[in-house]
Amino acid sequence: MKLSEIKKIFNKGIFSENPILVQVIGICSALAVTNRMMNSLIMGIALSFVTAFSSFTVSSLKDKTPKHIRMMVQVLIISAYVIIVDIFLKAYMTDMSKALGPYVGLIITNCIIMGRAESFAISNPPIPSFLDGLAAGFGYTLVLLCIATVREILGFGTFFGFAVMPAEFTKWTLMVMPPSAFFILACIMWAANNYRTKKQLKGVEKK
């Protein structure tokens, strides 16, 4: 595989086809775990791992899976990887596993993984599918970390657990509560939309 192709895949997953901002899929967990940086980072890594490996497996098995039961097969592959993640978290990061709670299991129904499997892995060889899944996972992690930065700094006055705000800083309780996640994600999407329309306008002018 050429370097330029790899670059293209990553650019697509992280920017031009970012799963959350552009395709608007997989936002359930994006909103639920973003009150702390650490939670978001672990969630992002877990999702990247599951997406990459399940894309790889789906793509390797694509000639052997019957067409009409392929959804079932994909769900089974995804759940197998999610179970690996869950057991790993339970064994090595007990606190994190408790903090994420049922949201680890809910990676199975995260539409990003199914979406990548259906739209890319099913018609491409294993290695590019693996990279494509990894790229989509990174795009997801990036957005999660952006939301979590705002929420943790304003809501708890900390960043990755370290106090960054002065002691007299009043914590914004709203930022810890669910509504703030919606507002912040909406603002990020708004900015991303504006950036894209500007870019498109520039492209039109150049032509």
Binding site: V24, L31, P102, T109, N193, N194
Partner: protein, 196 residues
Amino acid sequence: MIEVHPLVIFIASIFTSNMIFSNFLGMCSFIAVSKEIPTAIGLGIAVTAVLTFTTILNYFVYWYIVVPFNLEYLMYIIFILVIAAFVQLLEMVLERYLSSLYYALGIFLPLITVNCAILGVSLFMVSRQYNFIQTVFFAAGSGIGWALAITAMAGIRSRLSEKSIPEGLRGTPITLIITGIMALAFIGFSGMVQIQ
């Protein structure tokens, strides 16, 4: 096990612990399908029905198969299989016997398998250790709460379509902001009842 009256769980899962506004479950279809009221109601009913039945099924599967055989680590696979199989079965039964309902709800059924709310409720049922009656009320309440949220959102969005909104905000971002405001309103209920 915490002793909470089933009715309290029912009310709380509709209002204070609403699946969408406080647990963020089922957001994908919530945003994609909340453009018109009739389709929103259709999906809401379908989700409520599937959610209630699959959670009850998963309750029995969990307590009579998973726990006795020490299969907790396979819980996710088992739950998702039960859900997928139930949806498939429901689709076949509806197609065979109630074709009018099938054509009304048919397009939503495949969407339901990947609706996080369904799997989420089953997982919450396990992590909160509900008994059977509590499970039934929790599942039904969560489904009704989800249907209520998507119907209300569809109502707001159908009014919104004629308003002038900044271009970058149109579509998903404005929907998220409205959801945020609705979530704030639903927090107002939290003085009423509280679970967890």
